[in-house]
Symmetry: D2
Subunit: 310 residues, 4 copies
């Protein structure tokens, strides 16, 4: 099939390549000349036969909003727009309505895989109507990782792709994925820190590496930690500083909105916030209070206690 | 009555003074000459008539252990030793047994009040047998804050003194007090930090001060925070660095031993640990993992990476 | 001065009474007949001389929104509306703009004090322009607690009232107050639970009562806990179930939006969520995982399970 | 080589079988007749040629202590005892000293693998002197998972086995492994709960399954969660109740002893504690406080406020 792809950066460029390798035709557009096949959105739409599938892979927020708006002007009823970026799930409803008024379909796709995706495939979590998803399915099949097989060689379904629900469900599922990711990383980090803190453990990288087989906690992240410790056994060349993208924040906010207790994911988010502070205003206040304990007989703030029947 | 008091530092010295003001005789001993009334433990014991009450106010751990051991050699059956320091409650059993073999009583007293105690009195949480506590009661009465009165002028019992249980219960109650203290301080600190983070609040010290009357969160700690902000409105002259004494740690460990969920007190303890780190090994590991994501096609750690389409 | 007051429930009714006791004229309106002085908003506005001050004390959300909208139709330029309810600070901007278009002023007031407020006064945190706040100041002065005095009888300013910033700042300050409140309550709760969990402490209510004088953790909330334990020493007649109002949630969401680490307040919010769950889906998942460990040789989900010697 | 193995339960029995399959001779003893090869410790020791290696696989605590004590009476200098159970690392020092006095070596081995270990191998973290570990190495090699190979077929060292340090280091590394395990399980659980809480996600098991390939959070635990959801898609047949073994508790206590912030592992431990409570005393206290807010004009607890210069 044909795919229009907007945004040919690191992620979009690799995805175009993987879709092409699967035998599909990709018409790519990017604001920057160079790798693009057409030099305008009009050109992109013109190069595709209806019903068109146009995949948007640009930064979340205003860039995606603007691109969707322009596509709404250019596309025809029956076409489908896919947002594969890191949009918040609440944006998806807005986009779907903008396009729906013109009979254009909308699918949101949470995409995981990073630099490994070109070779290994991208995990995809998608939201939208069954009809719209069906129109994009050949592209999803090209992007997703090959189905693993069981001992008899039968494909095991479900890994690497899910149609999670209506519009927004794809980005929601990806958002929760990222929230979990924060807590997993934090958990390994805490364990690593304790190992490194005690003299008893003489081979910290060795302990971490030993965990990668036969244990309950083996995982891809653990493999990455082993690799990092091979390169820098005491992590001396790296600062304990971690950015956070929107997804972790949104996950905790959604938990709060839905009255879901989420202590470990919230704690890992807060640890990232702390890692970026030169000094902690909270701990300044705590330190100031400790100073006051040692205090001098200064004058009273309150005397209302006299009246209160407390 | 007579009281022997060992340890005439800031705390012990003030306590001696408060007991004297109540009309009791205090014989004080300290390793350092200067304020002491006698120049040895033997002298202290010799200066008291049986049954003696000797209050130990020296650093927890070995100094207290050693003092108790020596008192065991010098005192007689029927005498009572009070440990008013910051000993762990598990030490109390050891001390009580050491002395009990010789017929000497033992009482542990958790003491709160700091520099304000001389004028306002010291809150006292004590553990021991009823007989032993009774022998010390006049001293406790001298030290504790005056009983508050209700609207008709009747004394309200219970504030500022408790006989909490057998040996160890006093220090245990004081330990829990300190654990709570950590979380209260952290809570005010977090609220302060949020106020200070947003442009909307133009008068942060004013907001904190407004809370000291008529609100649910008014407290002595809040009064101290107001005072600190009066002196240094943006806490610019203080680092966000907080030590912790043993009690906070022991409180969380006791919670774990008793399967008591203790999220806020534990979080406030961890915040203090973090405040003292130049850099966080946990966050180094998190940052290293994030680096690996961006990664290059390095070699797989685990065999399955080879096969699996990650 | 004259005050129009809309909403004569428990809170509004008491506030009207306190303002009247201070010598002001209050015209009260409520949807329910009974205590109201006028039987419509039109009547209320008609009974006041310009420039009018109308205080809205109705449930946050749609009821407040609707009342503000109607007042916008009825009031004149120069009048001022005060929202003293529990509105979210983001609503304040909307309300201020709605009214501002017509030249009507707007002030938001966070109010603390509950049933004790009538006698003791209400703590007030307000947001708005200096001009608008000035028009309401006599009412604020009537509502707020009397200024405490220092030892020489001088009034100490700042306790019980603050003009925190522009529109929204009042409700924001009250929101943070409530977030802190959650963590304080949780902290005392955790300490109580540990005391109650160990045999060593024979007099739990006594320990809590002892903390109310001379300690670092004394507070109004602690006094209330003592009172609760006097009535029900083991809290046998009460379920461990706690609702949460919006403010605690908003506080944590604001912390996340501003990258402020807020572990204790978030933990206390999550504890409330948990307290309302019949069963925890998170812990179901944890239990299910533990079951799988014990597991039977079921078929692998992922291809790599086949090969890798897990 | 020969191995004496004490404790032929589920774990010990499978380990004996795996060692035998590797071509070694195993002499097994258990208190219960049935599978045992000898009917006393004397018999076991007599059946082995010096230098002997005796692996203890009995419950931690007194059973292990007693077994080590008896082996100390029976073995000869140059023999080695391995504790492969779940002992606390502090026990290892005691055991090593008990045996060391008689010239008998001691190695502690943390073992992971559960019911999957017989087929897939056991991950091993060991502590002890190089000499003692070397005597047991053929058994470790038989037990551990086969070394994974890279793309060219070369064995990748380090996965599944580590000599972590001196006596105690093996159990310490396994303890930290378990602490991390708690937080990983909790993180997945929290994500699952949020997915299940919102209507937007129509296929919760499908979302979880999709994560098993190509994502950052793929892991063996995630595979197990997929399996659990296949069997029981809404986890209706399982209670949210989770026991904890000693290792999670010890991990957090060690973190506290070493001033290591450990928020996610502690939070997951506390979540397990909560899962086992009929009702939460902490939340009873919180609820009681909320009741008091609504309160009646009851009598004051404190009036000391009058005197205090706070």
């Amino acid at each position: 099939m044909q795919l229009g792809l907007i945004g040919l950066g690191k992620m979009g460029g690799n995805m175009a390549e993987r879709v092409r390798r699967a035998g599909h035709e990709v018409v790519g557009y990017d604001r920057a000349p160079g790798k693009r096949d057409v030099d305008s959105l009009e050109g992109l739409v013109g190069a595709l036969s209806a019903p068109r599938v146009v995949w948007v892979m640009v930064p979340a927020g205003e860039p995606t909003r603007q691109t969707v708006r322009e596509l709404g002007e250019l596309l025809e009823p029956g076409d489908v727009v896919v947002d594969g970026g890191n949009s918040k799930f609440t944006d998806d409803k807005v986009h779907a309505e903008m396009l729906g008024e013109k009979g254009i379909g909308y699918v949101d796709a949470g995409v995981s895989g990073g630099v490994w995706g070109l070779e290994n495939g991208y995990a995809l979590m998608v939201g939208g109507s069954a009809d719209d998803v069906a129109k994009v399915q050949p592209v999803f099949d090209a992007l997703k990782p090959p189905a693993p097989t069981d001992e008899s060689g039968e494909a095991i379904p479900g890994a690497g792709f899910v149609h999670a629900g209506p519009v927004g469900a794809g980005h929601y599922a990806k958002m929760v994925h990222n929230g979990i990711e924060y807590a997993l990383m934090q958990a390994y980090g805490e364990g690593y820190e304790l190992l490194a803190a005690v003299d008893l453990i003489e081979d910290v990288p060795g302990v971490v590496a030993s965990w990668t087989q036969g244990t309950v906690i083996r995982s891809w992240l653990l493999d990455l930690l082993v690799r990092a410790l091979q390169e820098d056994p005491a992590l001396e060349r790296i600062r304990g500083y971690a950015e956070d993208s929107g997804e972790g924040r949104w996950t905790v906010m959604e938990a709060i909105d839905n009255a879901v207790p989420m202590p470990t994911i919230a704690a890992s988010l807060f640890a990232r916030f702390s890692s970026r502070q030169e000094d902690s205003p909270t701990m300044k206040a705590v330190a100031a209070l400790r100073n006051q304990f040692g205090g001098h007989a200064v004058q009273a703030i309150q005397a209302q206690e006299v009246e209160r029947p407390a």
